[in-house]
Structure formats: C-alpha cells, structure tokens
C-alpha cells in the first residue's frame, strides 16, 4: 500500500504514483481515440441535416398517424411466412448444430486437434455474420423468396445453438456416461443414454430461445428480398406509404412480444 510522507504526516493513497500515471495515460489514450473517431464521423456528416432532424422527425411522425388499419388484410400471409421462416430455419439449424456441438465439446469430440478447431470455426463464422448478410448472400445465390430466408436463419442459428449446446455438453456429469459405457454400450448408445438425457432440458431451452430471436430477425429479412413481412415493409417504405409502415411496425411488435411470451412460457415449463 503506497504511503507518502507529506509535511510530516503519513498520507495513504490507493495507488502508487506510477500506476496512477499509467491509468491517467490510459484514459488519455481512450479519450483521444474517441475524439479521433468522432472527428472522422463528423467530417462526413452534413450537420445541416442533423439540426434539421427534429423538423423531419416531426414531419414523418405526422405522416405515420393514423395507421392504415385496412392494410392488415395484406399482412396475414407475410406474417405466416415470417413464422415459417423462423420455425423451419430453427429446425434446419438444429439438424446442423447438434453434430457441430458434439464435435466442439471437449469431452465428446472425436479429435481435439483436428475436428474441434473446425467445429469452433463453423460456430464463430456463423455467429459473426448477421442473418441479413446471410440472407443477402443466399438471395444472390438461390434467388429471392422464403427459402433463402429460411436457410439464412438456419445458417445464422447454427453458431448460437451449437455454442450454448457444447457448453452444456461440457458441463455434464461424467459418471452417468461412464456407467453406461461400463454396461458395454457403444459410443452411440453412450451418447443416446448417457449424454442426451442430461442435455435435453438445456437443449429445449436453447431451441426455444433461439426461435424467439429468429422470429425477431425474420421480420426484417424481407428488406433484402428474403420473404416475410419485411417485404411489405420494404415496399411500403419505397412508396413512402408511412401509414402502412406504422401498421407493419405495430404488427412486428406484437409478433415479437407474442414470441417472447411463448418462449418464456415454454422455458418456464421445461426448466
């Protein structure tokens, strides 16, 4: 503990002078970095538009109310598509994520030096790229439509499900697996009877949680042409039909709240 003599009295300080300087210097660097970044942003910004923003916001706000309620008739099918994209995408992700999770978990991977890094790379790639970018990619490969959205959601969800699942696999009770293999069970039987029952609740929870996120994400996939209610949002925005935009946003909000409610209920029932 640094203590200095100060006019005859001993003075306690929390840090040594050197450390205090190091921290101060760290803050200086941080602030300098922030100011530099802010300068970069500021240089390419037309500040006139910024100061004009409240008026524009008021203008758009004024155009957005009241919502065009009659437009709801055209939203039922896209809403159904959105639900399908999220659900089928989650199902697709599960099929791909479970093997990846088993390959990535330290205690079940066939080879820690070769296969585990590949599985981890799959997980990080899937997680780093947003579903909108996956959708953009798939739309340019297989054309616009629900299928592109479904596969995009599927690819995006692999990382999330596999990561949480392999962490759950690594935390299992080893004794149960050993007990199963002591009966002469094969590797697959050990997985089915020793590991699966232990991770089933976590797995169900993760799946429902991801489904909830996927509903949220699939509502905007249409912005890049991958189907769902986002298509309607995009076309309404393109023709500046603000009352329709309001109604679509309300619909999306209700869908998101509904999926959150469902997922909370199901997780509550499982865990």
């Amino acid at each position: 503990m640094p203590i200095t003599e100060h006019a005859g009295a001993k003075l306690w300080q929390r840090r040594t002078t050197g450390r205090q300087f190091a921290i101060w210097f760290g803050w200086l660097l941080g602030v300098a970095l922030f100011l530099y970044c802010w300068k970069q942003i500021s240089d390419v910004t037309t500040w006139y538009f910024f100061w004009d923003a409240p008026r524009i916001a008021g203008d758009i706000g004024g155009r957005m109310v009241p919502p065009r309620w009659s437009y709801i008739d055209k939203l039922w099918v896209p809403l159904w598509d959105t639900l399908n994209i999220a659900t089928l995408g989650t199902a697709l992700a599960i099929v791909m994520a479970v093997p990846v999770a088993f390959m990535a978990a330290r205690n079940t991977t066939p080879s820690a030096t070769l296969i585990r890094p590949i599985a981890l790379l799959i997980i990080v790639s899937s997680r780093s790229i947003n579903s909108l970018i996956w959708a953009l990619l798939l739309v340019s490969i297989i054309g616009p439509g629900i299928l592109a959205g479904t596969i995009a959601i599927g690819l995006r969800s692999i990382g999330f499900i596999a990561k949480l699942l392999y962490e759950a696999i690594e935390e299992i009770d080893k004794n149960q697996v050993e007990a199963i293999s002591a009966t002469g069970a094969s590797r697959w039987q050990g997985m089915a009877y020793g590991i699966m029952p232990q991770i089933a609740p976590a797995f169900a929870g993760i799946t429902v949680f991801r489904w909830d996120i996927n509903i949220r994400e699939s509502t905007v996939l249409g912005l890049v042409g991958a189907g769902g209610i986002g298509l309607q949002l995009q076309s309404s925005l393109n023709v500046l039909a603000w009352p329709q935009v309001t109604l679509i946003l309300i619909t999306i909000l209700i869908a998101v709240l509904f999926s959150e409610w469902v997922s909370a209920k199901v997780r509550h029932a499982i865990i």
Binding site: L33, F50, I56, S140, G143, L147, E217, V220, V256
Partner: protein
C-alpha cells in the same frame, strides 16, 4: 427364478427411457400438431428448383471464392469500409455506454424511486424491442445518409442491452457495503461512487467489451440501408456477383470478430 415373478432380462427388454413430456396424450398431441404444422409450412416454401439448380453454380463459385478471396481489386473500398465500421463501433459504444450508465442506475429498483424506475424501464423496453435495421432506416430518413445515422442507431441499441444487464447487476449488489458507506455520512453521489460503482465495475467492463464486439458485427448490417460502414461495400459486391470480394469482406469481418472476442476474453479474465 420364476417363482418370484421377477425376470430381469424381460424387465430390461421392456425398459424405455422416461419421456421428456410425462403425459402420453399431450405428447402425442404435440407431436401431431408439429407434424401438421411442418407439413403446412414446408408446403408454403415454393421452391423453384430450376432457379436453385442455376444458383448451385453461383453457390459453388462462392464456396470457391472463400478459398481464394480477392482483397486487392477493391482494396480501397474494403479498407475504407472496415475503417469506417471500426470508427462507428468505437464512437457508438462510447456514446451508448455514457447514456446507458445513468439509465441503468435509474432502472435499478433498489436505488431509484418508482417514477424514475418506470421511465428508465420503458426506455430500455423500447430500445430492445426495435430491430437495429428498422431504427437505422428511420435514422437515415431523419439524419440523412452516412455513418452518423449508423452511430446513433448502434448507440440506441447499446442502451437497451447495457442498461438492462447493468441494472440487473446493480439490483444484485451486496447491500452491506452500500450501507456502510452511507453510515459514514456519504452524500448520494458518494454512495454511488464508493458503495455501488466498485461492485458493478467488473461486470460493466465485461458488458462494454461484449457490446463493442456486437456493435462491430451490427455495423456491417446498418450499411445495407445507407447508414455507413462495411455493409454498403458488401451489398455492392453481392449485387455485382463479385463473390471473391464479398468473401474477402466476410473473412475480414470474421477475423476482426475473432480477434475482438479473444482479446476481450483476456481482458475480462483479468478484471473479474
């Protein structure tokens, strides 16, 4: 053994693992419902096999492009886009944290009065329920094209994330320490500074680093609607079917995210 009526082999053969859902009727009903739903849902997919067949070449070209990404042709665009994304990430995370901290204090039930609590919780709920991309569309419409709209979008999204998790951490603090500080006659600000802030600091640093990571990933997306960053470059690359350039951008994003995750893991391990 037959006189005891106990046949171990027979029992073992008839044993089945206990099902996840105990009620047989509910189990069958759920299974049937799921089957019907999936049949209906897959029916709506409208798969255009011809289009997919044509797309296979392009998909394969993309996979090939990943093994041979083209950084050089559009190097200037990629570099500028990535730098802009990074700049947006830093700015929006700092602004987001600066706004989140007061809101987090307001949203913690144990230190905030009820009206403040409700207001802050409402702000968090709004920020969390709106998708980044939708906010970005509105901010672009309001503030004009460019990275400022992106920065504001990401800052706004940061508020919902950081305030909520930080508020939960503040609600979980050890009350004894705060009371001890209060007992010395500390004012409200001193109580926050010495009684509460040290307890939540490790979590705040961890969350901030995590959010920095998320903001970088999201900054690649907001560019799709004109809010700056690497997204615009990526979108153009896809539109022109320049898969090798797109692959280069995606590899850069993945690489930066991996570096960020690894280094934030190191820092978090040190502070926690």
């Amino acid at each position: 053994m037959s006189d005891t009526g106990f046949d171990a082999q027979d029992l073992a053969r008839r044993w089945r693992p206990p099902p996840l859902i105990a009620s047989a009727r509910l189990r069958w009903l759920l299974g049937l419902g799921a089957a019907i739903y999936f049949a209906l849902a897959i029916g709506t997919l409208e798969v255009n096999w011809l289009r997919i067949y044509e797309g296979l070449d392009r998909g394969w070209a993309f996979v090939i492009a990943f093994t041979d990404p083209d950084f050089s042709t559009r190097w200037i665009d990629i570099r500028d886009g990535l730098i802009e994304s990074l700049v947006m990430t830093v700015t929006s995370t700092v602004i987001g944290i600066a706004i989140s901290i007061p809101i987090a204090f307001g949203a913690a039930r144990n230190i905030a009065p009820l009206p403040v609590y409700l207001l802050c919780r409402a702000i968090i709920a709004v920020s969390r329920s709106l998708q980044e991309i939708i906010i970005a569309i509105f901010f672009v419409a309001i503030f004009g094209f460019g990275p400022l709209a992106g920065v504001l979008t990401l800052s706004f999204a940061t508020i919902g994330f950081l305030s909520k998790l930080l508020a939960e951490d503040i609600e979980d603090i050890d009350k004894g320490q705060a009371e001890a500080v209060r007992a010395t006659g500390a004012r409200w600000l001193q109580l926050m500074n010495y009684g509460i802030q040290p307890q939540v600091m490790p979590r705040l640093i961890g969350l901030s680093l995590y959010r920095l990571d998320i903001n970088f990933r999201e900054s690649a997306v907001v560019g799709l609607v004109g809010a700056g960053g690497i997204g615009a470059t990526l979108n153009t690359a896809f539109d022109r079917y320049e898969f090798d350039t797109a692959a280069a951008i995606l590899i850069s994003i993945i690489g930066i995210v991996m570096i960020a995750e690894y280094s934030s893991g190191l820092i978090r391990a040190r502070v926690q």
